[in-house]
Symmetry: C2
Subunit: 345 residues, 2 copies
């Protein structure tokens, strides 16, 4: 099958198809780069390499299909919950509530907060305990989880396969209209790989020293000097597994029972679009970004950040609010009389 | 304020800005017109007159704002349910479940099915009991209803007014950034007025005799001759208040306690996009469109339609599947620290 480059990515990379990143001349750009911070590339070819998955290569047909499935509530037992319910592209890629709420209004049993789907492709692992290696694997989880979409693999496949328009889209994407649960998740993962949000900070890292305001640059210096960058780094500005807490106990550790992976490691959330993704932390206990920054100083870095330092870091974080990809709301294939019916119970 | 013509409607009316409807030459076109069936006009000016509300004139600024509010889950107490949850533009403007499910997974207490928002502007009354005169008035109901979005007027206004980007949009739409619950509902109604779906049947009614297939024309004849058109008529192909049942009891009357308005009248649902909006009837008791047609023959017309007649009418109904307006999924204003928090309980 011919591998095509997604239209969505072309839009992200905009006019700079063959742009080389200009040499980083501003000392703060060099400092940020040396600290490990990296941009979402404006070069389409570089971006493509960064987000593609050799095991599940991006194609336009798979992205188009994955977009429909991402928004399709028939992939839940009740017929009411889609991937987009908890990872809402309208609201920063999250649901804006402390703990995710799913099938039959069940809150996440560990009181875990829904992480944003935007830029999730840049995370080295998926889920708060990092148990999943990539987006394709991750997408299989919430569909089947009883407190989330609560569907079985069999019912998911039967629902989708009952709609002729979906059969045709699978044929276009895979050369065969055979539908499997893995293919459903793979195409959703493929779509999610296109959900990246370039921001002023990316322009800055690529050499445009004027892309950040003076207070944002001040905040970036503080962010690096205080050591935030030791975990919040890379293109994802987060995304690796790290110990939490490091120095002092987390103030709201009594909410939920999450303790990280078997080694107590927790996935570092991305800071991209962070001003849009309250509430914060794995258990969504904190609504104020300033408070979240202060807590991070204490638990992870063992320091009390002054109000001025907190405000300065917060100002830097506003430069991470990115341009969201334009998503035309899909018109989904209608159910047929063969489609297994929704089950609300 | 200058009244502008919505871009959405321009797209619907397409290239036929000054098109006069050709004289209806085909005898079946004349017959359908005489029976009261009427098209969604391809003329932009005619369409504009038909969908506009003099009390709440359509403007691009109000439609753009109303679109955001339509998709905004922060207009529900929980922060999780938007207008689009039950009237999903991806799935025929409905939720595809028998009885609507809202706040805390509560089913509609009367077991009422969510009607489609597409072409709802053509209904003479809103709600199954017709208690609301128009879309602006209707939109106030589900937001406040305890088993639906469950928000108070005060909380809705406080949530929206806490987000500066919304303040600006209200200023653009109304010349003042004062936000009221009525304005919120009015702009949602304004957006909904643009959700019309021209179909092959409209082309046919406007004079293109080839827009329907021969079996669809046969079905249309049956539809008229059997008397379906006595209720399913007008541009909405439904939308007036009528007695139900007329001749024989409704087979599934024991599901829910809905008895119509104080005179036992029930709003006739539109048949536009009906193949996409199962399950059927006010209580969503019937999944098969063919069964629904058969029941209608019995309860309303006092006749047993043959399987052939049922199939023929069903074939006609496929010509009512219309082109959905292109809706770019909105990026909503982010919450601020002043935004009243979601309440899941």
């Amino acid at each position: 099958m011919k591998k095509t480059i997604s239209i969505a990515l072309v839009a992200v990379a905009a006019a700079s198809l063959f742009a080389d990143a200009p040499a980083a001349k501003h000392p703060l750009i060099s400092k940020a780069r040396e600290a490990g911070l990296a941009p979402i590339p404006s070069s389409l070819t570089a971006l493509y390499k960064l987000v593609d998955n050799p095991k599940n290569p991006i194609t336009d047909a798979k992205v188009a299909l994955g977009k429909k499935l991402y928004f399709d509530p028939r992939l839940s037992k009740s017929g009411l919950i889609s991937c987009n319910t908890c990872h809402n592209l309208a609201t920063g890629g999250v649901d804006g509530v402390p703990a995710a709420i799913g099938h039959r209004w069940t809150a996440n049993p560990h009181h875990l907060n829904s992480p944003t789907v935007y830029n999730a492709v840049f995370m080295s692992r998926q889920f708060w305990d990092g148990r999943s290696p990539d987006l394709e694997d991750q997408a299989q989880g919430p569909m089947q989880a009883a407190p989330e979409m609560a569907i079985t693999k069999t019912m998911a496949v039967e629902r989708i396969a009952s709609m002729p328009a979906y059969k045709k889209m699978f044929k276009d994407a895979y050369g065969s209209d055979e539908i499997t649960f893995k293919k459903i998740a793979d195409t959703i993962g493929n779509f999610e790989r296109t959900l990246v949000t370039p921001s002023p900070f990316d322009k800055f890292l690529e050499g445009d020293a004027e892309a950040l305001t003076a207070p944002q640059k001040e905040g970036l210096k503080t962010f690096i000097d205080k050591g935030c960058v030791s975990c919040h780094t890379g293109v994802g500005i987060g995304g690796s597994m790290q110990p939490f807490p490091v120095v002092k106990p987390y103030k709201y550790a009594d909410i939920g029972d999450f303790k990280g992976d078997k080694n107590g490691m927790v996935k570092v959330p991305t800071l991209r679009n962070v001003v849009e993704t309250a509430p914060y932390f794995h258990n969504g206990a904190v609504w104020s970004l300033s408070e979240a920054i202060k807590i991070m100083g204490e638990t992870q870095l063992g320091m009390t950040l002054s109000d001025k330092e907190v405000a300065s870091i917060r100002t830097f974080l506003t430069s991470l609010t990115g341009e969201k990809p334009k998503v035309v709301y899909p018109v989904l294939p209608p159910v047929t009389e063969k489609t297994p019916r929704p089950v609300a119970k």
